[in-house]
């Protein structure tokens, strides 16, 4: 479904991503983990088509992302950025409706189908009661749900999320990730996300990819990766993994 082939990304003379090859199956959740500066954000931005590879390629459904026009790409992959810009004065419904831009274009008004899609996604994420509120009046958790709603309104097969739970409290972190997991299980959405929280990464993703200094270090089932020595080495920490009712909990241990 998503294929990264010998992908390298540079900024001037600095290598941000080096020779990453990765295949992500449709309808699965792949989380990219790694320390700060590992290249996680660069990788997801390249998958979303915001950066051009300096070498190699990213393909979605067999078509190279860098050769797609913006509109074509927006119909295949939705993006949730780490710090989404929320324009004041815009209603929640109008904000979520931005997700339909690729469907109706810039010269036509949204169709009945577009409006229905927005109504549906607002209901699905329990945002319908906020539909007419100004986006800046929402709490952090509601705001993040609204950003997810906009991405879901794009009705793509692939969603790329960069640290989607940054700044949320524990309950809202879980709520957000459960909403995503539901989309993966029920709608066959393919998710590629970056997360700093290794416990949540391990509990929600089908597969973890460990990145360090722009290189792919490990790639495999979540349970294996969180127990790997390479993970601890990348962070320069001792990590312990405890099984709590069948869920892996990753705990850093001070030297």
């Amino acid at each position: 479904m998503i294929e990264l082939h010998e992908l390298s990304v540079r900024a001037g003379s600095t290598a941000l991503i080096s020779d990453v090859t990765l295949n992500v199956e449709a309808g699965t959740w792949c989380t990219i983990v790694g320390p700060n500066g590992a290249g996680k954000t660069t990788l997801v931005e390249t998958i979303a088509g915001l950066r051009r590879p300096s070498h190699g390629s990213v393909s979605i459904g067999g078509q190279q992302v860098s050769s797609m026009r913006e509109r074509q790409r927006a119909l295949r992959v939705a993006l949730v950025t780490q710090h989404p810009i929320v324009p004041s004065g815009m209603s929640v419904r109008d904000y979520v409706a931005l997700g339909r831009t690729a469907y109706h274009g810039l010269l036509r008004a949204p169709s009945v189908g577009d409006r229905q899609a927005v109504t549906d996604v607002l209901a699905r994420l329990s945002l319908d009661e906020y539909a007419n509120r100004d986006v800046v009046t929402l709490s952090g958790g509601e705001r993040q749900r609204m950003v997810l709603a906009r991405a879901l309104a794009q009705a793509t097969m692939v969603m790329v999320l960069d640290e989607p739970i940054t700044g949320l409290d524990l309950r809202h972190q879980i709520t957000m990730l459960e909403l995503l997991q539901k989309e993966v299980h029920e709608c066959g959405l393919t998710v590629i996300a970056t997360l700093h929280d290794l416990t949540l990464a391990g509990q929600f993703a089908d597969r973890l990819v460990l990145l360090d200094h722009g290189r792919l270090v490990l790639d495999g089932p979540s349970g294996e990766i969180v127990r790997s020595q390479e993970l601890a080495d990348c962070y320069g920490m001792n990590l312990r993994v405890i099984d709590v009712d069948g869920a892996d909990v990753v705990i850093p241990v001070r030297h």
């Binding site: 790409r73 993006l79 810009i85 324009p87 690729a102 810039l106 010269l107 100004d134």
Partner: protein, 338 residues
Amino acid sequence: MVLVAVATLVALAAAVVCGLVVGPTSIGTARIIGDVFSYLGLGHSTLTSTQSSIIWQIRAPRMVLGLLAGAMLAVAGGTYQGVFRNPLADPYLLGVAAGAGLGATIAIVDVGSGLAAPSWTPLLAFGGAIIAVIVTWAIGGRGLRSNTSTLILAGVAVAALFTSTQTFLQQQASTNSITRVYIWLLGSLASASWSSVTLVLPYVIACIVICVVAGRALDVMSVGEDESRSLGLPVRRVRFIVIAASSLGTAAIVSAVGLIGFVGIIVPHIVRLLVGTSYRRILPISVIFGAAFLVFADTIARTVMAPSELPLGVVTAIVGAPVFVLILSLRRQMVTSA
């Protein structure tokens, strides 16, 4: 929204009437309307030929040019604010004013070479404005790869270069030339004629249409460049088209009426307070409101000190500055209460 649209259309109609009726020569509204109907074959005009000339050869082209200038500057200001996501952006941000100022100065100032050609002022002002924007674009963005911050910085640099060249030329000029340059810089509709209207009309209409149609794209761009690209917006292409249209239309207007400040900033802000933050609503209402605003301002400019005239740029600034401050304080109150 409908109420605001109706109110601005009423204001526009009032401005048109003001533009035709108010002036040193008193001609009643009913007689002017009667004259209009006489052209449609309904009744007879009661105007003398002199009165008819005052209305249709002096006031009407001045009023129409005022409508075009106000509409273009307001919509260009709103568009710039949207595309740069900067509330202080105005149509002169990328060097249009500095370029036009230098072009006009070259035409007006005789530095002893005998090359000054005042009748070329509109052409050289237009050329200067376009060159300034092209240079800004070339420096600030390398075409389609530009981003808004580098474009703004390039605009500042180009404006500084053009303005300092203009200042140098003025230093070499006679007092009479300097006075004429200042009169031009402060803007005026006094030299309006049907030929100046027909000269700028195609540019202005085309540019206004492009800017208004771009409203939906500017709404998408309000979430930032990366996110709007991920939503399917060809950001760089849209930015290029919108900036080109705004700059071209502004250059055309500036070449005809000189530099009129504040319209491009305050009108979109007033409209934003009335209809919200969507550019789909701000831009078309700004067109109407800007047109009405400038014709009212011009009516003040030509009547307050009649028979002499106040520079139009002075009137828009005197009216505009307090309104701008009022809007800012209102907005602060709204934010605080929210």
